[in-house]
Point group: C2
Chain length 282, copies 2
């Protein structure tokens, strides 16, 4: 097991041969597995299947009408068990973070359509002289996705209508009871992109990464029930856990690796140094 | 003009159609332009041209014999004006930084063979409260490559037989009179890779990047004549120069952009944020 294995898991979905393009207004926004394409067949007033593509039908001419047309289909598919927990959280769906979205879609449905999703991941850390310590979180055992796995101190998907730093402040409060004065000083330090495949879903996702330095005496407390607890560990111990186990949720391992590189913990002596960094920006 | 333009210049050599593979022991190590391939024709006891490839002939069975066979050819080509200044500095030539080199080659010849080269680039910076200032250098007007252009405070190619941090310490002393106690604390913060084309040469190069924090009262002095001077500028001013002019040597602009991102100066509000980071790891 190695850090490179973690990055390979993040990018295990680069081959899209098993997927059909998902097209809206003539543009490919995502990738749909044939299983899920079959499940969409009964909803032919909304989705058209032809030429090995799934297309949102013409006639829904704006963001609102497209979103409204798709919503009842998603509700019905959710009732049939196609998703892993309805959140009542709308995600924008488009070609990229900086392009105008074509529609919005309930969060839990996004991976089924293989459209790009975005999130914020926050490295909460403490300085002790020259040493760094990281706060790491464990996901609650009843969380619908990746229950019980290790996670970054604060992380969350990027919903419609919230700025990135606003989202950091909101998630830091909910997940770890971090005061807004501290979370608001989190520094954006880069973006990590990958294309992950899991359970016949493609995730071509991007994480906006923030470093949040915490006072030595701050102790996080979860307030929303999504985490079961936190641990403050020396950064080298977090590196060992990341390399030697698969305990971290796959994309949180990538956020850790980026942290180790940026802070000089993982050094160019590691023969995977260059390959790892390419893997963080697919 | 924009930061994205700078990254595009770094990666302007991704199309290798005009180049023939350079092969040693059955492995492609680089790319040779047809002009230079013609110049190699008279040296057919060392280089074989066939099947649109340039191959180091069999019979040179180890690092030393390959290096010794190539050296007189390079001397002769240098006398004919094919290179831009003989340095008497051997570069390792192989498939990558972490793989055993097949031979060594005078530094100035490396771009003609399109083999991967490696270097260290050091961001020298000063903290003033919450503000960051960067030391930037100007290359001497008589430097054989990129004379008069702006540069990172300290940078240098990675020759045979020197560790990366050793090279940082050596270059920091030569280029900026930085004491070893300070340079030795430079932190490795990542690697930047690009494939640049210029004057019928391909450069598939990697820069190992270091952040070196300097005391406020330290003033760099060049000792080797390769730089004409230094300036300490607020980081936002360095960002404006990098974006608005082509004054920085192309790859130093990429090192700046990486610095701006890692330190939260360039933020996710920039619509090129994700694209820029992909461009830093080609």
């Amino acid at each position: 097991m190695s850090l490179l294995d973690r990055i390979k898991v993040c990018n295990n979905g680069m081959d899209v041969a098993a997927y059909a393009p998902f097209i809206v207004e003539g543009q490919r926004l995502g990738w749909v597995h044939s299983d899920f394409a079959s499940a969409l067949k009964p909803f032919e007033d909304v989705f058209l299947e032809s030429d090995n593509a799934v297309t949102l039908r013409d006639g829904f001419n704006d963001y609102r009408s497209r979103s409204d047309a798709v919503l009842p289909v998603l509700r019905s598919l959710d009732a049939d068990g196609w998703f892993s927990g309805w959140r009542d959280e709308a995600y924008p769906v488009g070609t990229g973070f900086y392009d105008e979205a074509f529609l919005e879609m309930e969060r839990t449905a996004v991976p089924r359509f293989g459209v790009p999703a975005f999130g914020v991941h926050v490295n909460g850390f403490v300085r002790d002289g020259d040493d760094l310590l990281m706060w790491i979180a464990r996901r609650a055992d009843d969380k619908p996705t990746y229950p019980g796995m290790l996670d970054n101190m604060v992380a969350g998907g990027q919903p419609v209508g919230l700025g990135l730093l606003e989202n950091v402040i909101k998630e830091a409060a909910e997940e770890a009871a971090v005061p807004a004065e501290i979370a608001g000083k989190a520094i954006p330090v880069g973006a990590i992109s990958y294309q992950h495949e899991e359970d016949n879903c493609l995730k071509p996702d991007t994480m906006f990464v923030f470093d949040m330095e915490l006072p030595k005496d701050f102790v996080p407390t979860n307030t929303d029930g999504e985490l079961s607890g936190f641990k403050l560990l020396p950064v080298r111990e977090v590196m060992a856990i990341t390399a030697d186990s698969a305990e971290f949720k796959f994309n949180c391992a990538a956020v850790n690796i980026d942290f180790f590189i940026r802070h000089g913990i993982l050094t160019p002596e590691d023969p995977d140094y260059i390959t790892l960094q390419r893997g963080l920006h697919q």
